[in-house]
């Protein structure tokens, strides 16, 4: 994951030595027992050479694209790749500030939530003295079941970032070890309750499509996932709302369940509506008409800058 190429290096000519080092680094990430032969280091280097020296793509990006390409060729999940010496080591949750960084954390399970998808084994909040973060434990990782209130050392977990808020993913490369003792979890994230009008619904609300890759679920932009390219997206409903009581602004996310409850519309109805209009944006517009400008009481944990809505009720 780390790169020894600075942007300055990569925008000028990338040397053969660097290309070959990068090519070998890529090949090391692929397991040995593949169906089919791995490309030679020369082939990979030539691919990188074309992207960097011919198309002026930074080496880091070229490397990423090459990994993604070979992953497609061999039908591998991101999870299947190997990252020697990958973990950045023990860190505190509050210090997480990078996407896709492998780290070790020792945390208490603060809260377990209901998984929203079969691919998710457990989801919830973990915390240490420094703060709290959402975590997702993927079903196919086949890891130990976490219990609320217990302390664990989670090693080789990977961070992910979504709109400036971070979370921790546990996948098949991760380890869970129960640890004796207790942690006084930092109080920076609590369920909060607020009463305020919804003053805006942001774009990217309503009927959206997510990447079908179970480790990804990114929202597609024009049918494309930034990680997986053109994919057959899966429909979902959400609202990115702004609440404003005249003194502070609070961003909030309604997931599908919360959106269905407050918007009085099911995912199926939203799909029909979009089908009739030949346009998914009608759902966002309908939600704006139905919801913006009214007062609500909403409740949920604050993660990053978002309140994740568990309960919402319009105030009459």
């Amino acid at each position: 994951m780390s790169s020894n190429a600075t942007p300055a290096e990569s925008t000028v000519t990338v040397s053969d030595a660097d290309l070959s080092e990068a090519a070998n680094g890529i090949l090391e990430q692929f397991p040995d027992d593949l169906d089919g032969d791995l490309p030679s280091a020369e082939e990979v280097a030539s691919r990188l050479d074309q992207m960097t020296n011919q198309y002026k793509v930074p080496l880091d990006e070229a490397r990423r694209a090459a990994v993604s390409h070979y992953r497609d060729v061999f039908g591998l999940e991101y999870d299947d790749l190997e990252f020697p010496g990958q973990s950045a080591g023990d860190i505190t949750l509050a210090s997480v500030d990078q996407d896709e960084q492998w780290v070790d954390v020792t945390v208490k399970v603060v809260e377990l939530w209901e998984p929203t998808h079969d691919s998710i084994d457990q989801v919830g909040l973990i915390g240490d003295e420094s703060g709290r973060l959402k975590f997702t434990k993927w079903a196919k990782a086949e890891l130990l079941t976490l219990e609320e209130g217990r302390v664990y050392k989670l090693s080789n977990v990977i961070t992910s970032e979504y709109k400036g808020r971070y979370s921790i993913n546990l996948n098949s490369r991760s380890n869970i070890e129960a640890v004796d003792g207790d942690i006084d979890v930092g109080a920076d994230v609590e369920d909060v309750q607020l009463s305020a009008p919804m003053v805006a619904i942001q774009s990217g609300s309503g009927l959206i499509k997510r990447c079908p890759d179970e480790d990804c679920t990114r929202v597609l932009q024009n049918g494309r996932c930034s990680e997986h390219g053109d994919v057959e997206g899966e429909f979902d409903l959400r609202i990115k709302a702004v609440f404003d009581d005249g003194e502070t602004v609070q961003y909030a996310i309604f997931d599908r369940e919360a959106t269905e409850a407050i918007g009085g519309i099911t995912l199926e109805e939203a799909k029909e509506m979009a089908m009739d209009a030949l346009d998914t944006s009608v759902v966002e517009d309908a939600l704006i008409d139905a919801l913006v400008g009214r007062y609500y009481s909403v409740e949920g944990p604050i993660v990053g800058r978002y309140l994740l809505v568990n309960e919402a009720e319009q105030l009459g």
Binding site: V199, Q202, V219, S226, D244, D289
Partner: protein, 260 residues
């Protein structure tokens, strides 16, 4: 690996959103028409080109945007060639003017199909324009939706609270915006006007009216709304003076209640 984060680019089509997201979105202030229409001093806090505009509320606060709920009484196309809709939005203290043209497609579509009277909730940015030597406040809607009377009453109650809090804090405040209001609005600054506005709003909600003896509250409310209209066009006009004594009583009552 994360140079191309999908979510961080998703709102880039809406540069204003994107911009304010990065700096933190500006709060939507609550104020009545009587005060919004007097907040004619609009300024930037920095020299940067994209720095947000703020309207200086006479009660010593600044507003980059407002959230308000009122009754649309009339929608007119005041554009020359292109459609430019002017909506009169009335609250218990006066009339605000909301304008929507081609750059506010959602609001323009909404207003052109709206049949007044109707309660609406508006999130809007203030600006000003000059006409015949007078400065008028206009509001540019970011969103406008139809709401019910309960939402409207809730907004009136909330705005009473916020306005009173500003007025109460004003006399002893060392806030830079209180100082700016004193300097900027100088002689024309009369905070009693907004006490009266609050009193009108309380009366509208049926708060504190039972302390009064003449039994003409509902009639007065309607009258005051009309007077508010006039006042926005002519700040020194007679209507406010006519309503003065009565409103002063109501304001005193309102204050007495606050102290309880």
């Amino acid at each position: 690996m994360s140079e191309s984060n999908p979510e961080s680019t998703s709102s880039s089509t809406d540069t204003e959103n994107n911009d304010s997201d990065r700096q933190g979105r500006q709060v939507a202030k609550r104020a009545f028409a009587a005060e919004i229409n007097d907040a004619t001093h609009v300024f930037k806090q920095s020299d940067e080109e994209r720095a947000p505009n703020f309207a200086l509320l006479p009660s010593g606060e600044v507003a980059n945007r407002y959230f308000l709920v009122g009754t649309v009484t009339e929608v007119n196309d005041v554009g020359n060639e292109d459609e430019y809709l002017q909506a009169r939005v009335v609250d218990p203290t006066g009339t605000m003017f909301v304008y929507a043209g081609e750059y506010q497609p959602q609001a323009a579509a909404f207003l052109s199909s709206l049949e007044p009277p109707a309660y609406v909730a508006v999130t809007a940015k203030p600006s000003t324009f000059e006409s015949e030597g007078e400065t008028y406040v206009s509001l540019r809607p970011e969103s406008i939706t139809r709401v019910d009377d309960e939402t409207r009453d809730r907004w009136v109650a909330e705005t009473i609270e916020r306005t009173e809090a500003r007025l109460d804090a004003f006399p002893g405040s060392d806030s830079e915006f209180v100082a700016m209001s004193r300097k900027q609005y100088g002689d024309s600054l009369d905070l009693d006007t907004y006490r009266e506005a609050v009193a009108d709003a309380r009366e509208d909600l049926g708060l504190g009216v039972d302390h009064r003896s003449d039994g003409s509250e509902s009639e007065n409310t309607v009258e005051n709304q009309h007077e508010g209209d006039d006042a926005t066009l002519d700040e020194d006009g007679a209507p406010e003076e006519e309503a003065f004594d009565e409103s002063e009583v109501a304001a005193a009552v309102a204050n007495a209640e606050l102290e309880d």
